[in-house]
Amino acid sequence: MKLQITAKRVLMVGAIAFSTGAAVPALSADQVSFAGKRIDVIVPFAPGGGSDVYMRALAPFLEKHLPGKPTIIVRNVPGSRSIPGANQFQERAKPEGTDVMVVSATTVASFVFDRKKVKFEMDKWEPVLLSPQGAISYASPSLGIKSWKDLPKLKGQQLVFGGQSAASGELRFIMTLHLLGFKTNHVWGLNRGPVRLAFERGEFNVNYDSTPGYMGGAIKLVQAGKAVPIFSAGVINEKGELARDPNVPDLPHFGEAYELVHGKKPSGPGYDAWLSVSKMNTMMNKGIFLPAGTPKPVLDAWRKAIGDMLKDPEFDKTAGKVIEGYPQFIGEAAKPIIKDATSFSPESWSWLKNYFKTEHNVTIE
């Protein structure tokens, strides 16, 4: 629905807005322009992290496709599992399309598990783009396995896994080990990089990496016979079912791994809790949000720019690899995922609470 913009019409719109005292004139997406504006993007992590690279990779294409070709400024507000950055956005962002927030799995985990310190209402923000990112788990051949088909052999063996902490982006993985009934020794306080090094040294015998991390690094270990991929975290398809990761179609997803080990399809509050966590960690791995109350034309302009960006052949050639072959969710399409990721059924929540308490001595509310 293209509108003819005439000077008269613009004047009229202005006059109506003025007379009714509305803060934002009723414009359509085509009339929104960010010409000469600076768009302030908060990345709640230090430079160089996954979310930072994600945003910086997208930024030049957003500049190109947003109406008026604005300048995008990426501002890192690092620390405390992204709570200060998100709180700052909640506090200061104006709903004009010029204040933007990048969210990662960690932000979502903080939002869900750290209610006390969180002042932001992520469930009310307007999503413009959700970029899922899968994960691939692998184990050491020293456990006596040659391929994922040997997965049941891990039962009863002592697994050693290193990670940051229980209530973080690591959750989707450690829960799988628990649900598979494996005995795991967790070693906390470690970032992904040092963990992979420790896996290579043989100090850990089971690990996972995000799919790009796996493709860039751990796959070489697999080729060298020092690691065996065992299953992927999978992705949730349009029907809301768990499906194989499109980047590793030959590897079973966690649901299949569960069946292989237990001999039945996964179900129950534990599996439901994992599905929610998986939406949190996998489907909401990275995302771009505008503040609550952003007018529809502005939202539409952003969503259109994202769509154009994804279709841009240049994007595919360069920055495309940061989204690595996963379906991208634009605007309204993202909302059901966000809802599922941030709300748990009472049964799965109490299962999770119990899991944290008994397995990790961590209390969640």
């Binding site: 430079p47 405390s80 200060p84 709180n87 310190k117 902490s165 209530a167 973080s168 906390w188 690899k321």
Partner: protein, 657 residues
């Protein structure tokens, strides 16, 4: 192989590549000089421009930038005692002492030539290591990492100051202070007073500035006209410094090796390197009396190591795809964006680019050190300028730097409070380097003890690597125990006399309270989260008890110290140290009301007019100049500045917002 190496060099000497390399290097020099900004800030500025760029052009630019921030950060460290980046902290001890003696040019000359040699050494080792460092790095497991942390910690023995007990107590306090934040084992929060800011602990940048920059500025403001006590720069110039570096060539080699090793191995970071190198320089010196008061070896050691560190940090980055430091993390991100996948097989896939990285590192170090050496003498003249004229700018820069840490108002408050602490530590002779080392290593120590035991049980002590480093630790402890620090004789009236004990007693009492509070705070936590802070607090309390015993005896001893007693009544400065702390608080107030840009303008104008007696119009010109520079940086580096009440009430246009 050799052919590829030469080919890479030839590529670099084409115009386009050379421009990129020099451009990156210049940018690196600028951000290195500015405290608070380092390679990370500048690299994130470059990221948007590197897209789709030719890797052979983009890489020299990025490497040039990263290679030299540790070169130029020496300027503020030597000249004003402000660490330009956290890897310049150890340089302050002797470098700034030299500047005060009027020998800034000599110190800078030695520092830059040491940086140059260290950087070249790092590049050389990188070239060789890429062939065989893999087993070495894979040999360093959790147990070895723990031992490395302990080895670094023994360097405290070289930095205790006149009283060994007080030095150890300060190290303990550093460990306690560093344990603030989420416990590595359980992610439970310690000493955070339920605030979000403290959940990650106070950033190292803020602690470093508070420990060194603030006390130093207050002291110079009170006691001197200019930083240098001499009216002219000594004849001992840049060239002499250069010659001294060459005559200490083995120190350069040893400290560069330390830098490369610490940079390459997991477990320690760049902020530790310079302290270990400093400790090593002291350990291996025959005559140690001059350290801390302007021994050139105290400049050469850390400066050689911190530039070599870059070469070391690149080894795991390129070979494993695992960043050796924070700026390497960003570099790694950038590599991925231009389509290079570092890690296993990097040598096979991208041999040409690997060599370009190595040559760029070497050449950037030469260019960077060359420019700095050239500028050293003119810039050293700053130490002759009346300090009241420099002071407001320096105070503002320090606050700017602190704010870049996490971009929260709390950074500024933490800087002020810790600055006050640092000032009293200096006055009462409590070692600030010991505190800083404890602080930097605290989390590492806690985490690696827990991780080693979690993975190995106690059997980690049976590993060969662990035993080897354990032997080194024993040597280091013996050397430290046998060291006799240089200290003035005890007299009934001197600084170590038991006169006017109350302020010192209050300070010591606060330390005891801090230890007790740590125990109270940790008590309800999980065993794994509390074992470290409680053990450290108990040991520190035992040491404090020993210090108190000395304190109660009524005769001079080294536990007593008050620098206020170092001069006679006639020399006493007109203002107390709190007077200038008041002025520093004034800046906080100005920013709190007007926001950063306006606040800085008001503050510098008022300071120059009232304290330095400049005429109003010159004061305003000076303040406008500073504001202009901040706006420029703010715009190009996309920095944000602290907001004040004014910004809360009104919507102000850039740059006032």
């Amino acid at each position: 192989m050799a052919g590829d190496l030469l080919q890479a060099l030839l590529t670099l000497f084409s115009v386009q590549h050379l421009i990129a390399l020099v451009g990156g290097t210049l940018l690196g020099l600028v951000v290195g000089i500015l405290p608070g900004l380092g390679g990370i800030a500048a690299l994130s500025l470059l990221l948007p421009f590197i897209y789709g760029g030719d890797p052979t052009v983009v890489l020299p630019m990025m490497i040039g930038l990263l290679a030299v921030t540790n070169t130029s950060d020496t300027f503020p460290a030597v000249l004003v005692g402000i660490p330009g980046t956290s890897s310049a902290q150890a340089t302050i001890l002797d470098g700034h002492a030299l500047a005060k003696k009027g020998e800034a040019a000599r110190a800078l000359g030695a520092a830059f030539s040491a940086s140059l040699l260290g950087g070249l050494f790092g590049a050389l080792v990188l070239t060789l290591a890429i062939q065989f460092a893999r087993p070495l790095i894979l040999g360093v497991g959790f147990g070895e990492q723990l031992m490395l942390v302990v080895l670094a910690l023994t360097m405290v023995g070289m930095l205790t100051g006149a009283s060994a007990i007080k030095g150890l107590i300060m190290c303990g306090m550093g460990l306690l202070f560093g344990s603030m934040g989420a416990a590595p084992a359980t992610a439970e929060e310690r000493l955070t007073f339920d605030t979000i800011y403290l959940a990650d602990g106070v950033p190292l940048v803020v602690v470093g500035l508070a420990m060194f920059a603030i006390p130093e500025m207050v002291e110079v403001l009170r006691k001197r006209v200019a930083i240098s006590s001499m009216p002219e720069l000594g004849s001992a110039g840049v060239l002499r410094g250069f010659r001294e570096t060459l005559s200490h060539k083995w120190l350069v080699v040893r400290c560069s090796s330390l830098g490369v090793i610490i940079g390459a191995l997991p477990g320690l970071g760049g902020s530790v390197t310079n302290w270990v190198a400093y400790g090593h320089a002291v350990q291996t010196a025959r005559d140690r009396s001059g350290f801390g008061r302007g021994d050139i070896r105290g400049v050469i050691g850390p400066e050689a190591s911190n530039n070599a560190d870059n070469g070391g940090a690149l080894i795991p980055t390129l070979m494993f795809g695992i960043p050796g430091s924070a700026s390497m993390a960003l570099f790694l991100g950038a590599l991925i964006l231009i389509g290079i996948e570092p890690g296993i097989g990097m040598m096979e896939r991208h041999l040409d680019l690997t060599f370009i990285i190595m040559w760029s590192l070497a050449i950037a170090n030469v260019i960077g050190a060359g420019i700095c050496l050239f500028l050293a003498r003119p810039i050293a003249r700053l130490t002759l300028v009346p300090f009241v004229l420099l002071a407001p700018f320096m105070i503002v820069i320090v606050f700017f730097a602190a704010f870049q840490a996490t971009r929260a108002w709390e950074d500024l408050i933490a800087l002020f409070v810790l600055g006050l602490l640092g000032m009293y530590m200096k006055r009462f002779g409590w070692s600030r380097p010991a505190f800083l080392i404890g602080f930097v290593l605290s989390m590492q120590l806690d985490a690696s003890v827990y991780q080693s035991i979690q993975v190995y049980g106690w059997t980690f002590l049976e590993r060969g690597g662990v035993l080897t480093i354990l032997a080194l630790i024993a040597v280091s402890v013996v050397v430290a125990a046998r060291m006799k620090p240089h200290r003035e004789a005890l007299t009934a009236e001197g600084a170590h006399a038991p006169v006017n004990k109350t302020p010192q007693a209050i300070f010591m009492g606060l330390l005891i309270v801090a230890c007790l509070y740590t125990i109270y705070d940790a008590w309800h936590l999980d065993f794994l989260a509390k074992v470290f802070p409680i053990s450290a607090a108990v040991i520190t309390l035992a040491l404090l008890a020993a210090a108190v015993a000395h304190f109660c005896r009524h005769r001079p001893n080294y536990v007593f110290f008050d620098s206020e007693r170092e001069w006679t009544a006639s020399e006493k400065p007109a203002y107390s140290d709190l007077h200038f702390q008041g002025w520093i608080l004034g800046l906080l107030a100005a920013i709190g009301v007007f926001g950063f840009i306006l606040g800085v303008f008001v503050y510098i104008t008022v300071f120059l007019r009232l304290k330095a007696g400049t005429r109003w119009h010159w004061a305003i010109v000076g303040a406008l100049g500073a504001v202009g520079v901040f706006c420029l940086f703010g715009y190009f580096l996309a920095l944000s500045y602290p907001r004040g009440l004014l910004q809360g009430m009104f919507n102000l246009p850039w740059p006032l917002d």
